[in-house]
């Protein structure tokens, strides 16, 4: 079971994320929700990896053995002892991936795969404004700055979470 999942993750990791998202979105069709699914699917592998290694680390700690000898059932050990101790790095990664995801979604909608015209979206705003770059530079620049700031903010948040976690 573990082998199957991890080999699948290896395969996913071997394909560049944006390419995978493009492939999924061409299969599912255009639209905001589909872009979200496509970008999410591309980051499954790295999250799965981190989660697995954390669970393996926590599972071998003496307090898990203590939990079993205390008479806890498997599900309870997993839910109460393993998961809370293993989830930290995954949350940090998730926040970090949020920045990456925003960038990926913007890239996809810049290419026109995301929200369709009447709906506004940062990536499509950049795309729409690029023809008028010489006369109205702000049309592309401001959405671009907002994207960059959001991604940086997510990064910063992730780092803050990480140092908070490791200081405990």
């Amino acid at each position: 079971m573990d082998d199957v999942i991890m080999r699948a993750a290896d395969v996913l990791l071997a394909i560049p994320g944006l390419l995978l998202s493009l492939a999924i979105i061409t299969a599912l069709g255009f639209g905001t929700v589909n872009v979200a699914i496509a970008v999410g699917a591309a980051s499954i592998a790295s999250v799965a990896r981190i989660m697995r290694s954390e669970v393996l680390r926590v599972r071998s700690s003496p307090y898990i053995e203590a939990a079993y000898t205390s008479g806890n059932r498997w599900v309870r050990v997993l839910g109460r002892h393993v998961l809370p101790n293993a989830i930290g790095p995954v949350i940090v990664l998730a926040v970090l991936e949020l920045g990456g995801a925003i960038l990926a979604v913007s890239a996809l909608s810049f290419l026109g795969y995301g929200a369709q015209p009447p709906l506004a979206e940062w990536g499509s705003l950049v795309a729409a404004g690029r023809d008028y770059l010489r006369y109205a530079w702000w049309l592309t620049t401001f959405p671009g700055i907002v994207i960059a700031l959001t991604v940086l903010a997510a990064n910063r948040l992730s780092r803050a979470l990480d140092s908070d976690r490791s200081s405990r």
């Binding site: 307090y63 203590a66 000898t69 205390s70 806890n72 809370p84 101790n85």
Partner: protein
């Protein structure tokens, strides 16, 4: 032979001092302000002299050692009136000058040999590094010097060892490599920071013998940092006792141990298990029955005290009831990686024992003897390859599901390292009631009440209920672990090295607590330990394990007073502190064919009296 009682006055013809330290202070800058780790310490080490600094964790003994070799973190501030090594002023020396001093003039033997060697470099190259960086030899001549140093450090086959990698060597051998590294530059001073704390007792003794020999042969001064008063008493010419960063006592072993002036030293001596073994009055069991009022458990009002009984009842029960835990011919084989010489390795090889009600059986052995595996088998955390485990006469070797959970209810575990055995995310209350919740005992309120009672039993304040493990000290954590194990009133506690990670005075408290609990609640203990001195304090019966087999069983007195097996004798002889109060010999010769030496094919020549 060096005699410990010579004065250290220059007029008495004492050795010339190699290291003189006066008024050494170290403080750390932390986010909560300045912490004084070492305050105003003065001492000196003479040529060919061993000076031991003894103290518990946090006493500043390692900080002192590191301050001398200037290996402290950047957040530290060191001040000293004088620190002189031979002709060098260590206070005034620049960092560049210090680089030339380390390795060349001061050798350092670090604490944990398992992590102190570079795993990807051959032994020879690592030892030679000292020579090369100090320009003491070139690449061609270094090899011969390395082999010589390895031989001097007591490694058999030094030529072969020089070509090997650290993982191919045992812990004791690695420590010898580190000693070789420390002495190859012919330093005037060797600073040994707990050089044997990570090693088995028999190996510890060999290593300390080796350091003694090196000191005698080369006239090096040794600054020995240790937490073990027994080791200090055996090996040192002078002992310095540190407590909370201050020097509280200094003198020869006879002075310090015979007539301690400071109350802290007296407490330390009273708590040191290795010393009490040799003093005779070792067992806490006897001490406890003489002073029943010392009980740390409350006397009444608890529902679960139904199990509490008087001694007479216990005896009657013990006679009529089957052994609480019985192991019959337990065998556990582990699969070895493919390509090894054998397909499996027997970690436990036909171990049998029985523990009568309300008594303690100690399983003693060195690392790799299979004692922890035996404990895990008894707990059904691993499946035995063959053999039977009986609990109250009932075969539980292969029970599963509901019955296995019933077993968990009757057998509880206290693990070795209290820093790792408590889930860091839960509060003390949640930790203690975890077994109750797991078995669905009581409701929320009754469980909270029970947690408070349990903390009372293990002598922790009720205010600890809402703390997290990280806010507790090692001893307090171990008390929480014991409270958790007691929560569902088990019959049998498996104690896997419960005190080996703790300071001696804390060890003593925890052992007293365990003895008190056994008396009050009629608990049965399976006590796993590598420390014979601790075992003597708590056990009724002892089983000595060696390479998965029981080599000897008997009552504590039988084992300690008249051991039948050579290995048992070697283990007992290796307990440090034996020289105290008697004629001080540096080494007690072991039996010629002592099996403890088998791990080191070349038996080191033990020196006779000089």
């Amino acid at each position: 032979m060096t005699v410990g009682s010579h004065g250290f006055n220059a007029a008495d013809g004492a050795p010339r001092p190699v290291l003189t330290v006066e008024g050494l202070s170290v403080s750390y800058e932390t986010s909560r302000g300045t912490v004084d780790a070492v305050q105003d310490i003065s001492f000196h080490v003479g040529a060919g002299e061993t000076v031991a600094i003894v103290g518990e964790s946090g006493s500043g003994k390692s900080t002192t050692a590191h301050a001398i070799v200037r290996l402290l973190p950047a957040s530290s501030r060191v001040g000293a009136d004088a620190a002189v090594l031979g002709d060098v002023d260590l206070v005034a020396a620049s960092d560049a000058e210090f680089t030339r001093i380390r390795g060349r003039r001061i050798g350092l033997v670090p604490q944990d040999p398992t992590v102190s060697l570079n795993p990807v470099t051959r032994i020879g190259a690592q030892v030679a590094e000292v020579l090369l960086v100090h320009g003491l030899a070139d690449k061609r001549t270094a090899h011969a010097r390395v082999v010589e140093a390895l031989a001097e450090a007591g490694l058999p086959d030094p030529e072969l060892r020089a070509r090997q990698y650290p993982h191919e060597l045992s812990g004791g051998m690695r420590q010898r490599v580190l000693i070789a590294t420390a002495l190859i530059g012919r330093p005037e001073l060797i600073v040994a920071d707990e050089p044997t704390s990570a090693l088995d007792v028999t190996v510890q003794r060999q290593i300390l013998d080796q350091l003694d020999r090196v000191r005698r042969d080369t006239g090096t001064g040794i600054l020995l940092i240790t937490h073990d008063l027994g080791v200090a008493a055996d090996r040192a010419d002078r002992i310095l006792v540190m407590h909370r960063g201050r020097l509280v006592e200094a003198g020869t072993p006879d002075e310090v141990l015979g007539a301690p002036r400071d109350p802290y030293t007296r407490r330390l001596i009273a708590a040191a298990p290795s010393l009490s073994v040799h003093r005779g009055a070792a067992s806490l069991l006897a001490a406890e029955s003489q002073e029943p009022q010392q009980s740390e458990a409350p006397a009444s009002g608890l529902a679960w005290q139904a199990r509490s009984r008087t001694d007479e009842q216990a005896e009657r029960d013990a006679a009529s009831r089957p052994a609480v835990l019985e192991a019959r011919d337990l065998v556990k084989e582990f699969a070895l990686p493919r390509g090894s010489a054998a397909a499996t390795q027997r970690a436990v090889d036909g171990v049998s024992f029985a523990i009568p009600h309300a008594t303690t059986l100690a399983l003693v052995g060195e690392s790799g003897s299979g004692k922890t595996t035996t404990a895990r088998l008894a707990l059904r955390l691993t499946e035995p390859t063959s053999g039977e485990i009986l609990l109250d006469g009932e075969d539980v070797t292969s029970v599963r599901g509901r019955h296995l959970r019933d077993l968990r209810r009757r057998v509880q575990l206290v693990q070795q390292n209290p820093y790792a055995t408590l889930n860091p995310r839960l509060s003390v209350e949640q930790l203690v009631v975890d077994p109750l919740r797991a078995f669905g005992v009581g409701d929320r309120r009754s469980r909270t009440q029970r947690a408070a009672e349990l903390l009372d039993v293990v002598a922790l304040p009720v205010s600890a209920l809402h703390r997290r493990p990280s806010e507790l000290s090692g001893g307090q954590r171990q008390r929480v672990a014991i409270a958790r194990a007691l929560a569902i009133s088990p019959e049998l506690l498996v104690l896997d090295e419960p005190v080996s990670a703790l300071d001696v005075s804390i060890q003593h408290q925890i052992l007293s607590l365990l003895v008190g609990l056994q008396r009050d609640f009629g608990l049965t203990y399976l006590f796993i330990s590598h420390d014979l001195a601790v075992v003597r304090q708590i056990a009724h019966r002892v089983a000595v394990l060696r390479t998965g087999r029981v080599v000897e069983t008997g009552t504590v007195d039988e084992i300690f007073d008249s051991p039948r097996d050579d290995y048992t004798r070697a283990l007992i002889d290796a307990i440090p502190g034996g020289g105290v109060g008697t004629t001080r010999t540096t080494t007690t010769p072991t039996t010629r064919d002592s099996p403890a030496d088998l791990s080191h094919p070349t038996v080191l020549p033990h020196q006779g009296a000089s």
